[in-house]
């Protein structure tokens, strides 16, 4: 086959909604874009453990602690599924870690905000995991097989994340005056950064069309954001909390809620590294990696020793 017919074959697979698998021919840009997208997603899962891990020892009850622990462990798993999917495209795990630790690779900017109170665990589960689910469900039908399969696994696990967050919010919102205030305060602080999770407006994301064509993005940033606003407004009513947006209004004609302007300057700033916790998150992550080195080395040495012993025994027999 010539390069041209390879491309034609690839295009026809994409058009017919047939999965691309690791050994299939694919255009370089498709591979590169996927590596960037999947590894960024993996980094987000891994860094995303930090703001919540921060509260495990301070959870208000054993039940909440067990739940939060299970959720954070799930996020580690999500990172691993995604790193594995990216590895099938020809990048090594160590390379991806290097990119994260050197600051070359990005992760979701939401994790650069601080978790100040217990209510933040509720707001994160409800809003941040909620937004993530909105993003991830369409990706279960992404064109790249290993990515789509990883997303199916991730989505199955995510729904408990959002529910446990909502449950925390509900408990606080129905609690004492102070607890309700705490819930509202967390909602106020996490709402706008959650809307930013969907990325810049469509008019400013020039790569969207290509990604939609490749089926590695199934809905645009603005479409997903609107869906998220619409469902969250209804959930906030159940909680009895106020939407932190005075411009929020039902638009009969559109059949959607209109919402206020997002502060994209803030978004750009956080992405650039100037968010409240960028430095701390990256430092913590690097420290965890460096302090885990002896464990990785010891496991390797142990494996070699076990192997050697087996060989020795085989020789003796």
């Amino acid at each position: 086959m010539t390069v041209h017919s390879f491309q034609e074959h690839f295009d026809s697979l994409i058009d017919r909604e047939i999965s691309i698998e690791p050994k299939d021919w694919m255009p370089d840009d498709y591979r590169k874009t996927l590596i960037r997208q999947i590894s960024q997603h993996a980094h987000s899962e891994i860094v995303g453990m930090l703001p919540e891990g921060n509260w495990i020892t301070r959870a208000p009850s054993l039940r909440r602690k067990a739940v939060l622990l299970a959720k954070v462990q799930d996020e580690a798993g999500h990172g691993l599924y995604l790193y594995s999917a990216a590895e099938t495209l020809g990048i090594s795990r160590d390379e991806m870690y290097d990119q994260l630790h050197s600051g070359k690779a990005k992760y979701s900017s939401i994790f650069n905000y601080p978790t100040l109170t217990w209510a933040d665990m509720g707001a994160i589960g409800w809003l941040v995991d909620g937004a993530a689910i909105m993003n991830q469900v369409p990706l279960c039908r992404a064109s790249y097989g290993p990515y789509a399969r990883a997303m199916v696994r991730v989505c199955k696990e995510e729904s408990f994340h959002q529910r446990q967050g909502f449950e925390i919010m509900l408990t606080l919102a129905k609690g004492t005056e102070i607890q309700k205030k705490m819930a509202q305060d967390a909602f106020n602080r996490w709402w706008w950064p959650s809307l930013m999770m969907f990325g810049p407006p469509d008019a400013e994301s020039p790569n969207t069309a290509q990604s939609v064509r490749w089926r590695i993005k199934r809905l645009t940033n603005d479409e997903l954001r609107q869906k998220f606003v619409d469902v969250t407004v209804e959930q906030a009513k159940v909680l009895g909390l106020d939407m932190p947006d005075k411009d929020l209004k039902w638009n009969e004609e559109r059949g959607h809620y209109d919402f206020g302007a997002i502060d994209w300057e803030e978004f750009k700033n956080v992405v650039k590294g100037n968010g409240p916790c960028n430095k701390q998150r990256l430092e913590t992550r690097k420290q965890a990696w460096e302090e885990g080195k002896w464990v990785r080395d010891a496991a390797m040495a142990h494996a070699e020793k076990r192997n050697a012993r087996k060989k020795e025994a085989a020789k003796a027999a």
Partner: protein, 116 residues
């Protein structure tokens, strides 16, 4: 093997192991297969890194079966998997298309034959 020689062999192996580590820090990659229920086949679940087979199984347990997704785990080091070439898919699988007589629906039976 005399004890002294045995000890020396072991030390040599340890030194070899250490050289291996400095050469390559990344744990090898393993493919994970899981039997979700007794009586079913093992199915590919994904992959992971681990120092050896035993640790790969332990890691697979933590990564892929946190919600009772399995009753049995296989791990195979990824470098030992050999796959067919997708560009040869046509020549490999096409011949099956013109052998429809391999399917039961190819045969016409009289209506009187109820169960076959």
């Amino acid at each position: 093997m005399p004890a002294k020689q045995q000890k020396r062999t072991r030390i040599v192996y340890i030194i070899m192991a250490q050289q291996e580590i400095t050469k390559k820090s990344e744990w090898p990659l393993w493919e994970v297969f899981i039997r979700s229920k007794a009586g079913l086949d093992h199915k590919h679940a994904g992959s992971l890194h681990a120092a050896d087979a035993q640790m790969a199984i332990e890691n697979a347990r933590d990564v892929y079966t946190r919600r009772m997704e399995g009753v049995s785990i296989w791990v195979v080091e990824s470098k030992n998997i050999h796959a067919s070439d997708p560009s040869e898919a046509n020549s490999l699988y096409d011949p099956a298309n013109d052998k429809i007589y391999r399917h039961p629906t190819f045969y016409n039976l009289p209506d009187e034959v109820k169960y076959m």
